[in-house]
């Protein structure tokens, strides 16, 4: 009796969250799927017609799609490489005892709390400006020609900005994992004569592997949706040099008002994200059983 009662009330307590999330997922996604099969442009109201997979063919054969896919992969891959390697280094550093370590840790994690539009604009103007920027001044002081970041290396510039924002996340998670490492194991290895490098390769790195996987998967989910940094710096340009899948869909939807094409693109983005999500869900699910 009691269990039946609790079970019923448990269902009731979960209902609002479950129903809302279900609606949030199914209604818009269903609409996107439906729109993706229509010829539908907001500039030509009343002209909607069924076109089957026409929008998908159009989206996938658009030369911009190939570039956008490559840009997306470069952006995600570049940021992941910088944050995982840099984050490991920073985590190892912050794991050492030194004076003022707590304050340094606060300084290192700070970029994560800066809103994307602020960090993108601050980097673009005050640091990367080819004439008045700080980087240009440093380059000239050292006798080099300053780099015109957003004209010559637009995608790299965005990668650097986004990497700066996500470096704290990787650092913090890897540091947390590092601190759960058994000290005795390290000491035992040290006594057995293992050097710093082999201790790192054979003890620390395997211990960090799971945390690294978590960092890679979660960052990928967020990085596939990088948007604000592109909007306020390059608008996807020059040409389509910094257009990602997310940005391409945005342009099609809110700049060209092509509802059908943008919806097809949205579905493509969902499929791409799902490939990553499956791995992540499995990993977290495994952890839940422990």
């Amino acid at each position: 009796m009691a269990t039946l009662h609790t079970r019923a009330s448990a269902r009731l307590m979960m209902a609002p969250a479950v129903i809302l999330l279900l609606a949030w997922m199914i209604v818009p996604l269903g609409m996107t799927l439906y729109f993706s099969l229509l010829r539908y442009n907001l500039l030509m109201p009343g002209m909607e017609s069924f076109t089957g997979l026409g929008n998908y063919v159009y989206f996938l054969t658009d030369p911009a799609f190939g570039t956008a896919l490559a840009n997306t992969l470069l952006l995600v891959g570049g940021v992941l490489a910088i944050t995982v390697i840099g984050g490991t280094g920073l985590a190892l550093l912050l794991d050492q005892p030194f004076f003022g370590r707590g304050i340094v840790r606060l300084l290192v994690i700070a970029p994560f709390f800066v809103m994307p539009t602020v960090s993108a604009l601050v980097w673009k103007t005050m640091l990367m400006h080819p004439v008045n920027g700080l980087f240009a001044w440093i380059a000239r002081s050292l006798g080099f020609a300053p780099v015109d970041w957003f004209a010559d290396l637009p995608l790299l510039s965005i990668i650097l900005i986004v990497a700066w924002q996500w470096l704290p996340f990787a650092t913090l998670i890897l540091l947390t994992a590092l601190q759960s490492l058994d000290e005795e194991q390290k000491e035992a290895a040290e006594m057995d004569g293992a050097g710093a490098v082999s201790r790192f390769v054979y003890i620390v790195l395997p211990h960090l592997a799971r945390a690294m996987t978590v960092v890679v998967l979660i960052e990928t989910i967020f990085l596939l949706s990088v948007f604000a940094e592109i909007l306020v710096t390059t608008n996807g340009g020059p040409g389509v040099q910094t257009t990602t899948i997310t940005y391409l869909v945005y342009m099609q939807a809110l700049l060209q008002f092509d509802v059908g094409g943008a919806s097809a693109g949205g579905i493509v983005a969902v499929v791409l994200a799902n490939i990553v999500a499956i791995f992540l869900i499995r990993l977290i699910g495994k952890n839940l059983d422990r």
Partner: protein
């Protein structure tokens, strides 16, 4: 000998650590410094680091020219509103899953997580059209609703991981001692649940404050929070470095302080309990 070596090592790491920390933090420091310069000093070459005429006029200008306080208020209303609404929906759900788990609880949690992985562009078009038809574009209510939904899975998950750590036996013990349901909640459950709820609140206010896909796409002026307001500084002719810096400093300062308090919860919240 050994002690001297370890002291030297400590000093070396102190120098390296502070140098690296300074470098990573530098863009933020530079923004704060620039906000106190005149526009001329802000773009001066060589750059002026500390010895310039400090002025607070940018802060006054930013407020008088663009009604900064309105956007600040929007940010506060939207981030706090969406978080509180999310907690209201999530607390019962997380509670039920933590204390009366069924065979399907894990599947429900996993499914909730999967909704978070839905890329925003996948639902941009219908949400935009629905908002347009219901008059929700550029409204605080609309943005609050969207942010509630996108952060709801994280809120449920975080609360679940906290609630799961509350020993269920303690409830029974209280019941045996003759505590009524009301007393049980006030004296036994609340003290154990509040820290977890507070951490969840903190992290989600931060996430909502910095959210910059929906806020940029669904607001223009009236309801624009700080993310969207700062984006307006991206037009080339409107680029005033000192004023951009003043607006940015005000936009990030409160959340940076909250973030420093929430650093431990950050790991737990954003990895869905996978790393603690």
């Amino acid at each position: 000998m050994a002690r001297a070596a370890s002291a030297r090592r400590r000093i070396a790491f102190t120098i390296i650590g502070w140098a690296v920390g300074f470098l990573v933090f530098f863009p933020i420091l530079w923004t704060v410094l620039t906000s106190f310069k005149s526009e001329g000093t802000a773009i001066a070459i060589p750059p002026q680091f500390l010895f310039f005429d400090w002025t607070a006029e940018n802060y006054a200008t930013v407020q008088s020219r663009s009604n900064y306080l309105r956007h600040m208020t929007n940010s506060i209303v939207i981030s706090l509103g969406s978080t509180l609404l999310g907690l209201l929906i999530a607390i019962p759900a997380a509670w039920a899953m933590a204390f009366s788990p069924t065979r399907r609880t894990k599947d429900v949690l996993m499914w909730m997580l999967s909704t978070k992985m839905l890329p925003a562009v996948g639902v941009l078009v219908p949400i935009y059209l629905l908002f347009r038809d219901f008059g929700l574009l550029d409204s605080r209510a609309g943005l609050t609703a969207v942010l509630t939904m996108i952060n709801l899975p994280i809120i449920v998950w975080m609360l679940y991981t906290y609630f799961r750590e509350i020993p269920a036996d303690i409830l029974e013990a209280a019941r045996m001692d003759g505590a009524s349901l009301g007393k049980e909640i006030v004296y036994v459950l609340a003290p154990m649940a509040v820290p977890g709820i507070a951490s969840t609140l903190l992290l989600n206010v931060i996430l909502a404050w910095n959210e910059a896909f929906w806020t940029l796409n669904l607001s223009t002026s009236q309801a624009a929070p700080l993310t969207a307001f700062i984006a307006a500084y991206s037009s080339p002719e409107g680029l005033f470095w000192a004023k951009l810096s003043a607006a940015s400093t005000l936009a990030i300062a409160p959340i940076l302080v909250l973030g420093w308090f929430a650093q431990r919860q950050l790991v737990r919240g954003l990895t869905f309990g996978a790393v603690k």
